[in-house]
Each structure stands twice: as structure tokens, then as C-alpha cells.
Symmetry: none
Subunit: 217 residues, 2 copies
């Protein structure tokens, strides 16, 4: 490790930025070459400073970290970008991943782990907080194979209810479900009523939409 890893930080909170800079500037094998409070000039910064790794806060006012991520990746695709966030927000995890983030850490990550993560990403890994990793797995499109581990809300459904919901997703009507399962249409009604309660929806369409979004693809 002769040449140190060139590092750039984006973090809007001045205190936190100072803290991170302090920590990382003196770490062996690292060279902190820039620390910014916003990422409006990210493309420029990256071109000029040629960092190996970028730490990008995702929750920044004005220009969000995701835009910053896109700018960095558009300018220098090989730069490794680690996203930092306080939230485990589903949407942003997804967006970040689609935009090519190389890792995703919560801000509460201890400093030692942060240094470790920088090493890992340089070694071709993708450091992730386990909680985030779980979300990533959930987001994962589940094509042909057997689906398992339905999402939370879907998990409260009884076996029969999940069965009925599956048929709804296939476009079955009450009548068809009753015929298919050999039960009365009133029983189907009963199941569907419970499904609605549990999923907090009020129509078949909502139920189908929710079910598919939550993994019953």
C-alpha cells in the first residue's frame, strides 16, 4: 500500500465534517484531499482531486447525496462511493444502489468501522450495515424461483389469506377463487375482509398493488 488512498468527503454538517476530517486525515494509508459541505460541484471536484474513495452524506440540503453520487459516477465511474446516512429509508437505499453506490453505512457507524469500510471498498467489497443489507435483499427482484420471506405486512397474513391474496394478484375474482379452492364465495369474502384489515387497504386493486410491491411478484 505505497500510494495512499485519496479521499473526499461530502457532509453538510460542519461539526461532523470537521470530525470526520480529523479522523480520516491522520489515518495511515489515507490522504484526505477534500471535504465539502455540498455536492453542487461534485463533478468538478472529482475531476480535479481524483479521489479513490468518496464519502457522501445522503441527507444534504439543496443537492442530495444521490445527485452527488450520480455526478461522481458519471465523471469517474471507477471512484468508489460510500453513502452515509442517518435513515434506513427504503427509497433512498434503492436509488443509491441503482445509481451505483459501492457501500451504504449508517452515521452511527463507529469510526473504526468506517476506516475498515474504506479498506473493504478499496479491496473490492461493498461494506453495508446489516440493516441496510436486509433492505437490499428485500428490494431484490425475485424472478422465477420460489419466493420466501414475505415482507412484514405480508407476513401477518395466515397461510390461507396469503393463498387468497396470491389468487387476487393473478386477477382472480371472488367467484373464481371460491371455485379454485372449493370454498364458498362468502368464505372468500371473509378472507378478503381480513386481508384488507391487515394490509390497511380498501379494495382489490390496492391489495394487489401492495402485495406486488411487497414481494409477491
Amino acid at each position: 500500500m505505497e500510494t495512499p488512498t485519496r479521499l473526499v468527503i461530502y457532509e453538510d454538517n460542519p461539526d461532523l465534517r470537521a470530525g470526520l476530517s480529523e479522523l480520516l486525515a491522520h489515518a495511515p494509508g489515507l490522504a484526505l484531499v477534500g471535504a465539502f459541505g455540498n455536492c453542487v460541484q461534485a463533478a468538478d471536484d472529482v475531476r480535479r482531486l481524483a479521489p479513490d474513495v468518496v464519502l457522501m452524506d445522503i441527507d444534504m440540503p439543496g443537492c442530495s447525496g444521490i445527485e452527488g453520487l450520480r455526478a461522481v459516477k458519471a465523471t469517474a465511474p471507477t471512484t468508489n462511493v460510500l453513502m452515509l446516512t442517518v435513515f434506513e429509508d427504503n427509497d433512498r437505499v434503492f436509488e443509491s444502489i441503482c445509481a451505483g453506490a459501492d457501500g451504504y453505512l449508517l452515521k452511527k457507524t463507529p469510526p473504526a468501522r468506517l476506516l475498515e469500510a474504506i479498506g473493504e471498498v478499496r479491496a473490492g467489497g461493498a461494506p453495508m450495515t446489516p440493516a441496510v443489507a436486509r433492505q437490499v435483499l428485500r428490494l431484490f427482484p425475485k424472478p422465477a424461483p420460489v419466493r420466501a420471506a414475505p415482507t412484514e405486512s405480508l407476513a401477518h397474513l395466515s397461510a390461507r389469506e396469503q393463498e387468497v391474496l396470491n389468487l387476487l394478484v393473478k386477477g382472480y375474482s371472488y367467484k373464481m377463487i371460491a371455485a379454485d379452492r372449493g370454498i364458498s364465495i362468502d368464505t372468500v369474502r371473509s378472507h378478503i375482509k381480513k386481508i384488507y384489515e391487515k394490509l390497511h387497504v380498501r379494495s382489490m386493486t390496492e391489495a394487489v398493488s401492495k402485495a406486488m410491491r411487497e414481494g409477491l411478484a
Copy 2:
């Protein structure tokens, strides 16, 4: 955490199985309730032993760990399954994820980290070796373009029709769509009729299901 975490191990190598058992049997907060050399009876084992967490070796002769994973998830979807492997093989990572694995660790993972991972998965996380995480991320951006280009059938819809279909997917009723777009409910009917013709469906649910499958996620 009064009740210990019930644990089951699948690992074909007797030495390694013994080692793991030794390690985990005496760990605080853990109760090792089973250790098997193959997973042909996985469904049965899980039903009988009701484990909270399963450690599944992915490289087993006869019945692969992925089949074991599927069996476990099919029998008890809430059981957390951690996959263990020596290889960072892309296909198997992918298959495991699709089958609902809750974590993915390399066998060279130090024992301490393994214990940590069990805790993490119980806490709703998805522990992953960084190298595996990277692969998972790589698998991601690819499905995205698929979604970006709506399938043929969806493309035949006029702008207005796609608009209406989008609202259907959000769970809107005819009435709500009419209000939202400032058009009469009969116009909504008219649009929806055409949508049905073009998509070859006969109900809102079918339309929603088809729309979501074909990219309107």
C-alpha cells in the same frame, strides 16, 4: 432476550460441523437444537425443531444448501437463514438471494463475527461479507433498465390511458380517478374499457397485476 435463539446447523463436513457445534453450543443466548450433515429432511427438521436461525452450508453434496434454504423458507418463512460458503460464486449468491436468504457469509469468517452475525440477523439485519455485498449490488442495476422500458403491451397505450392505468395501480377507484383528473366518471370507464382491450384483461385487478409485472412498478 430471555429466551435463547434456537439454532440449527447444516454442514456436511463432520469436522467443521463439530467445530461449529462446539462454538455455538456454549455461546450465551444461543441454544443449538440440531446439527445435520445434509438437508434432505430440512423441512421436517425445521418443523420439529422450530429454529429461529439456520446456518446453511451452501456447498453440500446431494442436496445443495440452496435447496435446503428453499425447504426451510417454504416450511417456516420467518426462520432466518444464513448461508455459509467457501466460494463467492455469483450464481449461487444470486440464487440464494432469490430464495430468500437472510445473510451470506464466507466460511473464513472468524468465529466471533459469526456470533455477531447471528445476533444481527435476529435483530432484522442481513449480515454479509463485503465481497458478497458487492456482488449483490452488481446484480442490481441490471434489472433496472428492464423496468425502464415498458413492455410492448404497455407501450400501445395512449398517454391518457397510461395515466389512468397508473392511478389504478395506486389503488384509485373510478370515482377517484375522475376527481383527480377532472373528467367524468364515464370518461374514466371509457379509458379503462380501452385499456382492458389492449391488455387483454377483464378486471381492474388483472390490469394492475399485468401493469406491475410489465414494468409499471
